[in-house]
């Protein structure tokens, strides 16, 4: 039995525990939220070190990307440094492969992503692979990194401008406490009403809303008109929330285990165990081959009656 624990800065209300089998290997997978308490996350990581097969870091990014440049988030690094024996991943390696593939899959196998469709990515620097793939396929992009993270009503329209702005701001922004850049703890269970009112129109204007679930949720207005949401981690409650807001179709990039899709950090930890390699030695080709063997495909759910 391989044990994987996802330690998250997010809400403990989303904690979950499942047993599953992948390629004949038994896994016990659990998620433990620390409600935004950084010190508790550090203590938990130290406690788990050497006692489990892999650890996923959730609710925080270790790395942000723009183009080929990788920026290390200081708070993520502090968490990583607390673990000496067990491999730790934040999902960024898998995101780059899995989420690109999700976009290509939707274009090639469905009519959900037609050329020229309007896509809002609430944040792109945490899912640069998805951002690049959507742009490459000719979608009309709005990257909301400045709008939703900094409250600056400036839609970034191209990957090139995203890279340019990220190059100026991210080297310093990654030094700030992570809670200033991303909703942690209780903020994951609430909406930012001011920003919903001010910037909700970006959701209404898009046909597709993509990105990290907590960000998608935090700023989502009501009365949507059947938009498609492409995201990662959802629970049954999240699906109800999206349906009530008027979302028409939900695509999750990670497979469902016992009623919910786990974060990419959890899936990356599981694949790391299956590959039995060091994280830095794993290539996108390794992930692709394994995803193929596991039959991993995006999950598509219609949320409204048609």
């Amino acid at each position: 039995m391989k044990k994987i624990v996802s330690v998250s800065l997010g809400s403990s209300k989303r904690d979950h525990h499942v047993h599953t089998k992948m390629l004949g290997v038994d896994f016990e997978i659990s998620r433990r939220g620390t409600d935004g308490n950084f010190d508790n996350a550090l203590s938990l990581l130290k406690e788990l070190d050497g006692k489990v097969d892999a650890i996923g870091l959730g609710g925080i990014d270790l790395y942000l990307y723009a183009g080929k440049t990788r920026y290390t988030v200081n708070d993520g690094q502090k968490l990583l440094d607390a673990v000496k024996k067990t491999p730790v991943v934040d999902g960024s390696g898998l995101k780059n492969t899995l989420e690109r593939e999700t976009v290509y899959y939707l274009r090639n196998n469905t009519d959900l992503l037609p050329p020229g469709c309007k896509v809002l990515m609430v944040s792109a620097v945490d899912r640069f692979g998805m951002a690049e793939a959507l742009s490459e396929l000719g979608c009309d992009m709005t990257f909301g990194d400045l709008i939703f993270s900094a409250g600056i009503p400036y839609p970034i329209k191209t990957v090139e401008e995203l890279e340019e702005i990220a190059g100026k701001t991210l080297p310093e922004m990654v030094k700030l406490p992570f809670h200033m850049l991303y909703p942690t703890g209780e903020k994951q269970d609430t909406q930012d009403d001011k920003k919903v009112e001010k910037y909700g129109h970006y959701y209404h204007e898009a046909g597709v809303i993509a990105g990290d679930y907590h960000l998608v949720r935090r700023y989502m207005p009501g009365n949507l008109k059947g938009q498609l949401v492409i995201t990662n981690t959802t629970t049954r409650e999240d699906v109800t929330f999206l349906r009530d807001k008027g979302v028409g179709c939900l695509v999750t990039t990670t497979p469902e285990l016992e009623g919910r899709s786990f974060g990419t950090n959890v899936m990356e930890a599981a694949l790391l165990v299956l590959l039995d390699k060091k994280w830095e030695d794993i290539t996108p080709g390794d992930y692709l081959e394994l995803m193929d063997r596991l039959g991993m495909k995006p999950r598509i759910q219609q949320l409204q009656n048609v």
């Binding site: 400045l146 993270s149 900094a150 409250g151 600056i152 009503p153 400036y154 702005i165 190059g167 100026k168 701001t169 080297p171 310093e172 922004m173 030094k175 700030l176 200033m180």
Partner: protein, 117 residues
């Protein structure tokens, strides 16, 4: 220790760089704020005013501040000249900003978009 005149010059440089950046004016057209600049080691007060996307400054306290930026005169002059970024002094406590977290983050973004690499 920087002088009041040096802080004035640094704010002139900051305002000039801002005015040459058309994108920043678009970004800030909804953000009307008064920012008080207060060095704690010399007698000096300036007010930065952002209104309709334009940035200006004046000597003294000329409006009720939404944000107050407090540090020693050297850090303030270096920061507005773009020699240092605000992040490090903010994180080590030598730069204090009184205001909402959203406004602090936005001011940081503006500074980085002006002086960032």
């Amino acid at each position: 220790m920087a002088t009041h005149e040096e802080i004035t010059e640094s704010l002139e440089a900051f305002a000039r760089a801002y005015s040459e950046n058309a994108r920043l004016k678009v970004m800030n057209r909804d953000w009307d704020r008064n920012v008080l600049i207060l060095p704690e080691d010399i007698e000096s007060v300036h007010t930065l005013v952002l209104k309709d996307g334009e940035l200006s400054f004046s000597q003294g306290k000329t409006a009720e501040p939404d944000l107050t930026v407090i540090s020693n005169s050297d850090i303030l002059a270096d920061m507005f000249f773009g020699d240092i970024t605000p992040t490090e002094p903010y994180m080590n406590g030598t730069l204090r900003i009184i205001g909402s977290e959203d406004d602090i983050l936005r001011l940081d973004f503006i500074s980085l978009l002006i002086w960032g690499e």
